[in-house]
Amino acid sequence: MSRIERKILFAIGLTVFLTLGGSIFFAQGALREVYRVGVNERFGQELVHGVEARRGQLVALRESSEQVADAIGWAVEAEVSEKDSRRALEALLVELLDRYPDVKSVRVVEGDRLYAAASREPEPNGDALRATIRSRDATARGKKLRVEVEVVVPEMYFQRLQEAGEVADVYSRLQRESASVSDVYVWVFGVLVFLVIVVAFLIGAIASRRVTRRVTVLAEATRRVGAGDLTVSLPTGATDEVTELTQAFNDMVRDLRDSRTRIEYLQKIGAWQDFARRLAHEIKNPLTPIQLAAQEMDETYTGEDEGYREKLEHARAIIEEEVATLRRLVGEFSAFAKLPRADLSPADLCELIQSIQDSVPAILEDIGVDGPAPVEVRVSCATRPMHVRMDPMMLRRGFDNILRNAIQAVYRAKPTGGGQVLLRAYSVENSAFIEVLDNGPGIARENWDRVFDPYYTTKVEGTGLGLAIVKKVVLEHGGEVSLDDAPEGGARFRIRLPLIGSS
C-alpha cells in the first residue's frame, strides 16, 4: 500500500469514524431515553393491577357461586322441612333457576336416589362456559339429602386472566431487561455501522487504488524519463485530474523527445558544417595552383611532338573541368558551412509561397537540358494569410531545395513530359503545413530516415546537402519535416511550422 493510499484511507477512516462513532454515542443515549419512556415501572404496575383485578373477579365469581349453592341448599332444606312434597320441591327448584341465572341445574339426591331435579339450557349467545358442581348437604324430616348445584361461568374470564398474565409477564421481563435491551439496540446498530465502515473502507481502498496506481505508474515513468528514456508514453483513459496530469506528462516527454532530436540533429549539422568549412578550405587552396600549373605546362611546351602536345591539352582540359567541379563543390560546402542561424520574425507564409511560384520558370529553365524542363508545377496556398515566425530567406532556400529535387526527380523519370509537382500550403489548428508532392519514382522507404543526413544523396552530381539544409532550417523554425509516399505515386515532403499564437 502506497503512502498516498494510506493517507486517503486515513482520511476516509477519520471521516467515517467521527461521523458514525458520534452517531453511536448519541444514539445510545437517545435509545435508552426512548426505552425508558416506553417501558416504565408505572405502566408495569398497572398491568399487574389488571391481572390482580381479573383474578379478583374470578375469586368473586367463585365466592358468588358458593353463596348461591349455600342459598339453594338452605332453600331446599327449608322446603323439605315444611312440606315434604316432591312436586313442591321441583317447583321451588325451577323458581331458584329463574332467580340464579348462573345456575344450570339443581339435583337433590337422597342416598343414591334422585329425589328432585330441575335444569335449563343456557342462553345460546355462543360464549363457552365452564361448569362445576357445588354440593351441599341438607337434613330435613330425617332425610339426608345432597343438593348438587351446577354453576356455570363464561370461559372468557379465565382466558382474559391468562392473556393479561402473559402480557404482564412479558412486560415485567422487558422492564427487567430494559438496560440490556437498549444495549442490544446499540450493539446491533454498532455492528451495522461497523459493516458500513468496512464497506466504506473497501470502496475507498478500491477508489484510491485506482488513483494511486496511476500516480505510482506516473512516478515510475518520471524516473525512467529522468534516467534518459524518452520513449515513455502512458495510457490515458479516464477524464479526471490524474488523466490531465498524465496527458501533460506525455506532452512534456514528447516535447523533450522532439527537443532532444532537434538539438541532436542541429549539433550534428553543426559538426558537419565545421567539417564542410575545413574541407572547403583544404580543397579550395590547392585548386588555383593546380589549374595554373596545368595551364603553364600546356602553354610553355615548345617541343614538336604533336602527340605529346595533344596529351597535354587533353590533360589540361580534364584538370580544368575537375577543378571547376571541385570549385562548385567547395562553393556548396562553403555555403553550407556559412549557413547562418535563422533570424525569425512574423511574416505571411503565403507571400513566401507566392514568391516561390514566381521563381518556378527559372528553376525549370535551370534544370531542363534543352530549354525548360517539361514538368507541370502547381503552387497553392489554401489559407490566407498564415502568419508564422520565419526567416524568409532561409525558408525560401529550403522550399527551393525540395521543389528543385522534386522537379529533377520527375524530369529524370519523365523527360518528355507528364511530370507533375504540387507545392501547397494550408493550416490545421495551430500549425501551418507545406507539402511538396510529385508523381515521380518516389524514394525507397528504407531511405526515408537517411535522406536528411548531410552528404547522403542518390544523385550523381548531388552533394547531399540540400535536404540537410531543409531540415536544419525547419528545425530552427520550431517545425518538423517528414517524408512519405505521395498519393500520386511519388514522394511527399511535409513541413509543419507553428502558427503565431500557438504554444
Partner: protein, 197 residues
C-alpha cells in the same frame, strides 16, 4: 477459511466442556430393545419463588429437555423435550396440568410438580439413533426450565414494527431470545452409561 475452522472447533470444544462441567445427579437409565428409558427428578426446579408463581392462577410452563451425548463430547445424539402447562384453578380447587393435548386435574401443587418434574421411564430417541454407539459410553443431560415463553408466543408478543429499517428485525430477534428465556433453569447430567451391544 482457517479462522472459520478455528471458530468452529472452539465452539465444539466449548460445548463439550459445558456439558462435561454439569453437576452429576442420579439419572436412571434402562435399555429396552435398544432404546433408553431414563428416570430422574428435577423437582428442585420448583423453589419458593417458582411455587409461589405456580399458585398465581396464571398458566405457567415447565419444560424438561433430555439430550444424549457421547462421552466427552458436546455433540447431541438425540434430544427429547416435553412441557407441562400448570394452572392453579381458582374456580375449583386443584391444579390443571396440561401435557400435549391431555389435561388432568391434580389436587395439589406437589402432585402437579411430581407429574411434571419427576420423570419415570421416559423414552429418549429411537433405537436406530444409538446403533452407531453400541458398546460405547454416553451420558444424558437434563435441562428443566420454568416458564420459558414459547417461540410462537414470543414472536406474537414481541414483533418488529414493520418499518423498512434494517436494525428492527435483527434487534427484535436478539431481544426475543433474552426476554423469552426461562425464569429459572436447572441443568444436570447423569453418569456415563454404556449402550448395550
Amino acid at each position: 477459511m482457517k479462522y472459520w475452522l478455528a471458530a468452529w472447533l472452539w465452539l465444539i470444544g466449548a460445548s463439550a466442556s459445558a456439558q462435561r462441567d454439569l453437576p452429576l445427579r442420579d439419572v436412571q437409565v434402562q435399555w429396552l430393545r435398544g432404546a433408553p428409558k431414563v428416570s430422574f427428578s428435577a423437582k428442585d426446579l420448583a423453589d419458593e419463588r417458582v411455587r409461589k408463581e405456580l399458585q398465581s392462577a396464571l398458566r405457567k410452563r415447565l419444560v424438561v429437555t433430555v439430550t444424549a451425548h457421547p462421552r466427552g463430547s458436546g455433540r447431541t445424539i438425540v434430544r427429547r423435550q416435553f412441557g407441562c402447562d400448570v394452572t392453579h384453578d381458582l374456580w375449583e380447587d386443584g391444579y390443571l396440568v396440561r401435557i400435549a393435548s391431555q389435561t388432568e386435574r391434580l389436587s395439589s401443587l406437589e402432585k402437579a410438580l411430581d407429574r411434571c418434574l419427576v420423570v419415570q421411564g421416559l423414552f429418549v430417541g429411537e433405537p436406530r439413533r444409538y446403533e452407531s454407539y453400541k458398546g460405547k459410553e454416553i451420558f444424558f443431560s437434563i435441562e428443566a426450565e420454568f416458564n420459558p415463553i414459547s417461540e410462537k408466543q414470543c414472536r406474537e408478543l414481541i414483533r418488529p414494527t414493520g418499518s423498512d429499517d434494517p436494525i428492527g428485525p435483527i434487534t427484535v430477534s436478539i431481544v426475543r431470545r433474552r426476554i423469552c428465556q426461562a425464569e429459572r433453569t436447572v441443568r444436570f447430567r447423569g453418569k456415563d452409561a454404556r449402550v448395550p451391544k
